[in-house]
Symmetry: C2
Subunit: 437 residues, 2 copies
């Protein structure tokens, strides 16, 4: 099987031996022959940077080191795989790797969301690869289709479920009718939520991924700070019940969109929030810890990519694909696509974004409520699609679904509703995605 490869071995350093790192190391060692046949040279593991060297780590102690800096500096290391997590340490190690002519594969979305520019420039200056397929949607190929397969098309929208923890929680709430806090606790017990779940449930993880997706979809540098973000911690079982009554479910979406402002300017938007999704939309049936990304392009139309968005082996699959491609480039010459940022599109403020809305409010159970509420929507130019009255007496509620309106107009409407005598409180405002009107 190895007869065709006469090239010297490609040295690999792995930084981090957590869920993903240990799977990467396992695959490099177990699949050595197949990987050699694909690369055209053997992949040799030079070392693994760990916090603590131990005989229980599944690899020989002599391959472990706590000195990551020296490991990435070794002359016999050609490619560095970074799966430590965090920001400052991996940033330093990746920059130092790129600057010493090593290609880098990373799954670090938080780092990439803020520092892709700096890292891509270092890769460019040193003519090496920087690959990060695993940073978004785990095993699902998304980065490569966007940067390569759709390189001759014009992407108009990317909308995805790219955080497994929140999708698990929302799916479970939808199924069981349980409340958020209870379901979060259950997710923690089952290993789907971390001890500190903030990055997931408040949408920071999904926002980092949205920044990466928007950057490559629109050939524009977008960072996490450009992404509008809301989490799922305010979603109630009542919201899910109301969504169900409207033939919808609720999903945390990362949305990247090319838009044209009322003045005709081309802008982009990147945003993360829980939204009502009609049950007929392909994203509605993506449940549990699964991820999916829908891409709408001018010529390709609507594409969907679906699979496991997290977990050691699935994420390692994406890392290994990048590693094999980087190694092939080391053997055969050539490099993967560079950062593309020529378009330099501006990010639109959230107030300019057009979507539909779901507004849930507690109201007095009196005649004239509906007309007063409807008048307030009309006054702000927000057109109503559906109104549902729920409950009666002290528990009376109005659920309003609007046609598309700007976020600014909706915010003004909600502020005005809260001033109305008839309205006790506006309890939820969620956006509705996946329909056009």
């Amino acid at each position: 099987m190895t007869s065709e490869s006469a090239h010297r071995a490609i040295g690999v350093a792995v930084l981090g031996l957590g869920n993903v790192g240990s799977e990467v190391v396992r695959i490099i060692r177990e699949q050595a022959e197949e990987l050699e046949a694909r690369v055209g040279a053997p992949l040799e593991l030079r070392g693994v940077a760990v916090r603590r060297i131990g005989s229980d780590r599944g690899i020989p102690e002599e391959l472990q080191t706590t000195d990551a800096e020296s490991l990435v500096g070794r002359d016999d290391v050609d490619i560095v795989v970074e799966v430590i997590g965090g920001i400052e340490l991996p940033r330093k190690l990746i920059l130092s790797s790129l600057n010493s002519g090593k290609s880098v594969v990373t799954a670090n979305k938080a780092l990439l969301a803020d520092h892709t520019g700096e890292l891509a420039e270092a890769a460019e200056a040193n003519s090496v690869d920087l690959y990060f397929e695993a940073a978004v949607a785990g095993a699902i190929p998304v980065i490569r289709p966007l940067t390569q397969s759709l390189a001759g098309d014009r992407v108009n929208k990317v909308a995805g479920i790219v955080n497994g923890t929140t999708n698990f929680i929302l799916s479970a709430m939808d199924e069981t009718g349980a409340d958020y806090e209870e379901t979060l606790a259950e997710a923690g017990r089952l290993g789907y939520a971390e001890a500190d779940p903030t990055a997931d449930v408040e949408g920071y993880d999904a926002a980092a991924k949205a920044a990466i997706l928007a950057s490559i979809a629109f050939h524009t540098r977008v960072t996490a700070a450009d992404v509008y973000r809301e989490g799922i911690s305010t979603i109630t079982s009542a919201d899910l019940a109301s969504a169900k009554a409207l033939d919808c479910t609720i999903k945390l979406l990362s949305i990247c969109e090319r838009i044209v402002t009322p003045k005709g300017k081309e802008r982009i938007s990147a945003r993360v929030y829980p939204a009502l999704v009609p049950l007929s939309h392909p994203l509605a049936s993506v449940n549990g810890a699964f991820n999916a990304v829908v891409v709408e392009a001018e010529n390709a139309g609507r594409l969907m990519f679906y699979g496991q968005g997290a977990g050691g082996a699935p994420t390692a699959s994406a890392v290994m694909g990048d590693l094999v491609m980087a190694a092939r480039n080391k053997v055969h010459g050539g490099r993967g696509p560079r950062e593309s940022k020529y378009a330099k599109l501006k990010v639109a403020p959230m107030g300019d974004i057009l979507t539909r809305y779901y507004v849930n409010m507690e109201v007095a159970d009196k005649e004239g409520v509906l007309s007063a509420v409807a008048a307030e929507f009309a006054k702000h130019g927000v057109s109503i699609s559906v109104v549902r009255q729920e409950g009666a007496g002290a528990g009376a509620r109005l659920v309003v679904v609007t046609h598309v309106a700007t976020d600014a107009a909706l915010s003004e409407t909600v502020a005005a509703l809260n001033e109305l005598e008839f309205v006790t409180a506006v309890t939820s405002v969620l956006r509705l995605e996946g329909t056009e009107q």
Copy 2:
């Protein structure tokens, strides 16, 4: 926008000006600035090979030529896009292009299914690219994910709906209850079936795509002749009704699978046939002219890719992605992945393949039928999962769904059933996919 590109223009020749070719030409001309920014050099259309030059073709007559051979031989052509169709002419033109140092992008699945080896060797010998993302599943990125994103994983199965015509027909039959001939005629009227629909409805198109998918999934050269093939022309409305009663629908599937024989040998299988698919399976809801491909890999788990599998603009999107990648390689150096055929796995005969079966037979409405039929299955080692009795008297039927058995054992069972006094005729035998038992 073009300030960063100092590279000379990349010359492009397009062979064919049908549905796909005219879209490719339109995009090259309309999106010139964006394409230049992505490639790093302008893409310049040197000429289009047509059968007949005309002022009604949407491009200046001076860009049209009937002499394809001279066009691909021009020194200022760097990349040739082949979208003529057919086999012998494009084969000659592609070989001559590759041998004169031009990269080639083709959507020609029939050609690739039989001649990838020869073409890949010419590309290799001349250090140029041969890309064919558009040959399978139109706009849906499938080739690139399999060859690059999953390059570090081990693909065990690829199962897809990759022919839009047959999927349109089967979806319509399922929805309307109409028969095959009637629905085919309707598909022809709506432009979903060609005047001679043989290549689609008899599974030749799906088999060519299966050969391409199996080759890249298993790093083994597989040609159309290696693919077991059955079409959909024998599917009746009664089959679809029986499938529905079993919570299934019927889809024409292209299946590529890595299998282990009873003797422990690793083999591969590539096959195309109409199969019952449980409604809960992701492929069951892929309707109309849409395509979808499910990939099962050892580490990635199950992935699904979904989108438009045919049509001018979607197919052109895939061609353009390849064209931009080939052009980037011309500008920046480097090449895409080469043909990978190191594994050289043998193709298993159809008789060795394990699947589940659906057998529909006309029977005498007498006592003892069921036990006689069940005995025949048992005698051949085929275990029964479900039996349904349908109709009565002269219209009495038995529908049997089996557990997994080899194709050989099932064929023997069916032959024996046809000899039984109680059995008037076995009217349909279909396989059942998407369940394990």
